[in-house]
Symmetry: C2
Subunit: 451 residues, 2 copies
């Protein structure tokens, strides 16, 4: 008998699960995916590069079109919003966004992959025209339309200095705008320790971005036509012809919550390692919480790479196999122009807050042999547990070729290696690629002397 797998949400997690399950189960599984928006399987992470002009067309950001999914046997329904999930009844009620008509889909297995929505703080004037999110391709289109509208758009304000904010500041600079970034914390890019975040700010300021740090937005002023014209902040008013919100996201769990599914302290769905929330009910992507392996606690990390992996885990489990999502260690990476930044594991403050006895070393080096002309500066900070020498975290800031080296630290952390073991491991060396001791090994070696 054919079973039915209903997937709620047609982006990374949902469509990966749908594809994986269909590939494994074939005709024995009827796969229906409902997506309330106009786009499926797209790279939200690519939006800043589309806005900045590095990606020419929105279609370049679409990994697989609904037509392609249908060719693979998946019944993708666009403009179809799941409005009720009946877990005991094993059915999903779906509303056609255009006509308003409702259908009920019975299922054997269901996946909640409803994603997240951008945080829009409850501030005066927040609903003014020209105050935009950059979460979906439609959001990106609205921003590009605003820039191309014929309206004088000269000043852009980015609210929030997380990686989306930093990437959008670059994109808007590339578009020729005057860009101000407003960040509530002491420095932008809270994924780094404050002093390293400061280096990123220095780079942004050198490139021409005005960074208002330790500054809160208090409201938005609109002109007579209702379009934003200024942002009010604790550091004064800033002219704004367009505002981009980069304040992070909130899990979209209303449907799941109404269905009585378990929501965690971080407002995301709680799953078991197989990504199951209840018998026959799965969850994946930005709407779930995941286990942080470093601190052994629940966290929420809205990243496409986790969404894809979780989707694959669900797809394998639904398709008849066995798979588990092993958790995360807080790896992240971003770029501002030619300045790269990355981290994995614990930062200094959070390690100390967690009561860990931590030693820290920071080394300054170059991405490869310093005698070659294109070697770029590179800073590596590394944390280890005093006594055991266990690697606890790392951060990298530097020029081209620096940041992706974080993967070596991430994998060492993943495998619970000590800094002594990392320092002596057999990494690749030739002058165009590394100094004779790889930069992460220089950092690990420095820690060996103090753990």
């Amino acid at each position: 008998m054919t079973r039915r797998f209903v997937v709620i949400g047609g982006d990374a997690a949902g469509m990966t699960a749908a594809s994986q399950a269909k590939r494994m189960a074939g005709d024995a599984l009827d796969v229906v995916a409902v997506e309330r928006g106009r786009w499926a399987s797209y790279s939200a992470c690519g939006i800043p590069y589309w806005i900045g002009g590095e990606v020419a067309q929105v279609h370049d950001l679409v990994a697989r079109s609904p037509q392609q999914h249908r060719a693979n046997g998946i019944d993708v329904r666009m403009g179809a919003e799941a409005v009720e999930l009946d877990v005991p009844g094993q059915s999903v009620t779906v509303r056609d966004v255009e006509s308003g008509s409702r259908t009920t889909l019975e299922y054997d297995e269901v996946l909640v992959a409803t994603g997240a929505r951008p945080i829009r703080p409850d501030l005066p004037g927040i609903d003014g025209a020209g105050i935009l999110d950059v979460q979906t391709l439609d959001d990106g289109r609205r921003l590009l339309d605003a820039l191309a509208s014929g309206r004088r758009v000269r000043n852009a304000v980015v609210v929030g200095g997380g990686y989306i904010g930093v990437e959008m500041a670059e994109a808007l600079l590339r578009r020729g705008l005057r860009v101000t970034l407003v960040e509530q914390a002491e420095e932008p890019l809270a994924l780094l320790d404050t002093d390293l975040g400061r280096r990123v700010r220095d780079g942004m300021e050198k490139a021409g971005v005005t960074v208002l740090r330790a500054t809160a937005v208090t409201g938005f002023e609109a002109g007579a036509d209702g379009w934003v014209r200024a942002v009010s902040t604790t550091a004064g008013q800033v002219d704004a012809d367009v505002v981009v919100l980069g304040l992070g996201v909130q899990p979209e769990v209303a449907l799941a919550e109404a269905a009585g599914l378990p929501i965690g302290d971080n407002d995301g769905l709680r799953t078991d390692p197989r990504m199951s929330v209840a018998p026959g009910v799965w969850a994946a992507g930005d709407c779930v919480e995941v286990r942080d392996r470093v601190f052994d606690r629940w966290v929420r990390v809205a990243l496409g790479t986790h969404a894809n992996k979780q989707g694959r885990v669900v797809g394998i489990n639904v398709g008849g196999g066995q798979s588990q999502f092993p958790g995360v260690i807080g790896t992240a990476i971003t770029r501002f122009c030619h300045l790269e930044a990355a981290r994995t594991g614990a930062m200094v403050a959070e390690a100390r807050d967690a009561g860990l006895d931590v030693v820290v070393e920071t080394i300054e080096t170059t991405t490869h042999a310093g005698y070659l002309p294109d070697a770029e500066p590179m800073t590596v900070r590394m944390l280890a547990e005093k006594g055991t020498g266990r690697l606890l975290g790392a951060q990298i800031v530097g020029g081209r070729g620096a940041a992706k080296r974080i993967d070596v630290c991430a994998l060492a952390l993943w495998a619970e290696m000590s800094v002594a073991d990392l320092a002596m491991s057999d990494l690749a060396y030739a002058p165009p690629f590394s100094s004779v001791w790889d930069p992460v090994q220089v950092a690990a070696r420095a820690l060996c002397a103090v753990v």
Copy 2:
């Protein structure tokens, strides 16, 4: 009482050991380093980039001058050749290369870091002028002198297609020469499986190098002035105004052998994990054999990164600490123009020769999100053990940013991870750095389906 540590050989291994031991032991240790050549602590690996013009001055390749070492309290003696090592008598006889006078140095600890010498096959005409090695800075200087001599130097022949040969072919192209590479094996770059080596050959040929593969050199023809004018090969004669030998190196162990120290099957000194060969006698660098962790066998790998690490191990042990060299896994990396190549662990043929039941996947992808304009092609081959899924090796060929990703594979192999664990680990993702599944994870994921 002050002990004396005599270091024989003043390059990577020797001077690293000297520096580390002196740093730890201070005044309690008298450190004397003897070097028969004119240079200490230099980057031999940097020679191709000096020849190619990317490195302006020979001094850029010197990490630390004899003066700098002396300022750190190390008695470095240049032009001083160790001619006898008397282990029972705990002394080294040193000959001054210029004057021929001999001195005897008593020691408490001695390090044999005599390195290796380039292989010069016993072929007719091999001693002709213009047939050069690229092992030392003096070798590099001789080659540059030949190119700048006013003599018509138009045709260069590189004998041997290992990484030195490939790097030298690029360097000579950059100098405007017509370059022919002669390689005995089916394809150059034997650090890769043959079909991937072929891609490197394709890249070399596209750049203008003539590659004679499966071709042996049978001799060298000299002109009336004794300078080389052609190379005879099994594929015919090739005009040559200069010849570079890149046939690998042979450990320099005559001194150690005469002293009765243990030489292994690969012609290198056999040490214990602390790099000790006998009580009070240490060895490190290109003259030693090391343990291959993948196949659990002795190998010889002449790489500066191992020499540095081994030197550090010796320095710590002599300086009063405890350190071990953990072995190697065959990680290697090189570049030909913009084509990068790297490997770690087992190649397909050697894994099968060793009787391992191995599964292999090869994936074609890009260095980062394919929709960004500077994404480069990237091929990842990965090997795992059938049944257990243990990662056994990987190879990468691709454009800028591809090859150093081998470190992730190297570290996974080092930590004895399975491809399933690697595929789901938390590596860094953002579009300018990676596809949403990192390329090495795409390969690992492909293997998961077949192990």
